[in-house]
């Protein structure tokens, strides 16, 4: 029963997704509404940052807060794992 209900719900979501895919911009075309941002990165990354790899230029310069945030998340993940494993390391019941 639960499985059937879940199946129906997921089929509905899938139908909505198909509807959504039908109106998306065509695969392989640049964004039609505002392609300016990605074009700006490709044209100015070298002059702005001195790096020819524009992905690196974006991660570490244009959006350096993302890199900082990713490092914070990684540190948080490590701390979370360590804290969980150490906190429950005693040989006791529940």
């Amino acid at each position: 029963m639960k499985k059937i209900l879940a199946g129906v719900v997921f089929l509905l979501i899938g139908a909505v997704f198909v509807l959504m895919v039908a109106e998306m911009p065509a695969f392989g075309s640049p964004c039609p509404v505002d392609p300016g941002v990605s074009r700006y990165y490709l044209e100015n990354a070298l002059a702005d940052t001195g790096a020819i790899n524009s992905v690196s230029a974006i991660v570490l310069d244009y959006r350096s807060s993302d890199a900082l945030g990713a490092v914070a998340v990684l540190f948080a993940g490590l701390t979370a794992v360590a804290a969980t494993l150490i906190a429950h390391s005693r040989k006791e019941g529940r």
Partner: protein, 120 residues
């Protein structure tokens, strides 16, 4: 409409993978499978993001003389960050599963619920 869907098959595939992950996460009672579903879901979003950044005939966004079209570099940059987030979440979820296994001797969510009910 069908023509548009066929042109956008990569997006549909990514969304299908997303649904598979979503379904796995919500309906499976095995905790490890739930974590797998989490990973599948996250990867599907990255796939989708990557597909949306593709520009026909473009090459990798490393600026070189003579190349005209590049793919959109921003989705790749976002995914780079997203992967790290996914890694930390997976590691933490797995450490929780390890501890749940230690306490209950099983990784099945229904079984854990049953054991908890017996305690109370």
């Amino acid at each position: 409409m069908f023509k548009a869907i066929f042109a956008n098959l990569p997006f549909l595939a990514a969304l299908l993978v997303f649904l598979i992950g979503f379904y796995t996460m919500l309906t499976h009672s095995n905790l490890i499978k739930k974590v797998m579903g989490l990973n599948i879901m996250e990867t599907a979003v990255f796939l989708f993001l990557l597909a949306s950044g593709y520009v026909g005939g473009g090459s990798a966004p490393v600026i070189r003389a003579g190349t005209k079209t590049y793919v959109n570099p921003l989705p790749s940059a976002l995914i780079l960050t997203g992967v790290v987030v996914g890694l930390s979440l997976t590691a933490f979820a797995l450490s929780l599963v390890v501890k749940l296994y230690k306490y209950y001797g099983t990784v099945d969510a229904d079984e854990i619920m049953r054991l908890r009910g017996k305690d109370e």
